[in-house]
Symmetry: C3
Subunit: 136 residues, 3 copies
């Protein structure tokens, strides 16, 4: 199953919890055992797996990324969003999560965030859920 | 096949070589051609693919991560482990390795480490080995 | 399908666009729906998904990685390439891209780069394209 979800980000840097939308995609797939793949088709955004219980964690991540990838370096890319490209490479655009017993297998504190580093924009995430043919 | 291995880390920051345990899981799966998926269900730990021949490489990685993600920034997350969350995002919680001829396909110098950034704790890694149905 | 491509890098740090070679591997696989997996079997190189339209983006990425992983820290690894190991962990050695309608599914501005951080060398990338048995 190959589906696309849309996400409207609200700020230049914005992490949006999409865990429930991924769970819904897994439920719709009807697949009991397999892998759920997530792919971000943008070059200035990414997907983050991390704690979604305490919202300060995402603010801290954003602060550290700004420290690591300063806005003021002598970037050559003319569009002014070079740091956003680098941040997306660091967090990753492609992630997977197991499906077991028809359920997305996340750790107790884990959630899935769409991370925009050059918003606000209308963004997309592509999802594939693939069945493990040998596990039923 | 969906299995879980347990790892007891020994320090706040601890990289433990789990390559042999992954090889064993692949052998137990009986799968000759496919993909071995690794997932860390924690938010302050991750999985690292890198050199496991020279143990100084893991110490250098730990030192650079401390440089990139300083302990002393104005973090908001109250539990005091905000840097550990960020480090886990940077190294990644989900990785895969090919299985070919019933063997885990790593490069000559590559190994798999479980990386705890907020230990010592009892940790888990989830493993799925999925067969490529078209390659036998 | 499990294939290997070879890449000759030309400098210490060198990002080479391999998008067309990945597309070719997908075409040769004959697979219409599935996932294309990429794996770098080296410990001082990696694979980057990001913009391949403007070549300044790769130069900016390289500059920021040098900022994040300085050459002059007190590294213990004796071969002098410790920063290259860390950079490979940060960009990742394992990535996947969806295959849909016999086509590699990249975003409008996305491409795939082989990133050498300790070249020039003869390098390899391993590719598997696996069919989604339920999507034809």
């Amino acid at each position: 199953m190959f589906i696309q979800i849309e996400i409207q980000t609200r700020a230049k840097v914005d992490l949006i919890d999409i865990t429930d939308r991924i769970r819904q995609a897994v439920a719709e797939s009807g697949i009991g055992e397999g892998v759920c793949y997530l792919f971000c088709p943008h070059t200035t955004a990414g997907i983050v797996l991390n704690e979604n219980w305490d919202p300060t964690v995402e603010k801290d991540l954003s602060m550290v990324l700004d420290h690591m990838v300063p806005e003021t370096m002598p970037y050559r890319h003319a569009e002014g969003n070079a740091p956003s490209h680098v941040k997306s490479v660091l967090v990753g655009m492609d992630h997977f999560i197991f499906v077991h017993n028809h359920t997305l297998q996340l750790g107790q504190w884990q959630g899935v965030f769409f991370a925009d580093f050059d918003g606000p924009r209308r963004r997309r995430v592509w999802i594939r859920v693939i069945k493990d043919q040998d596990s039923g």
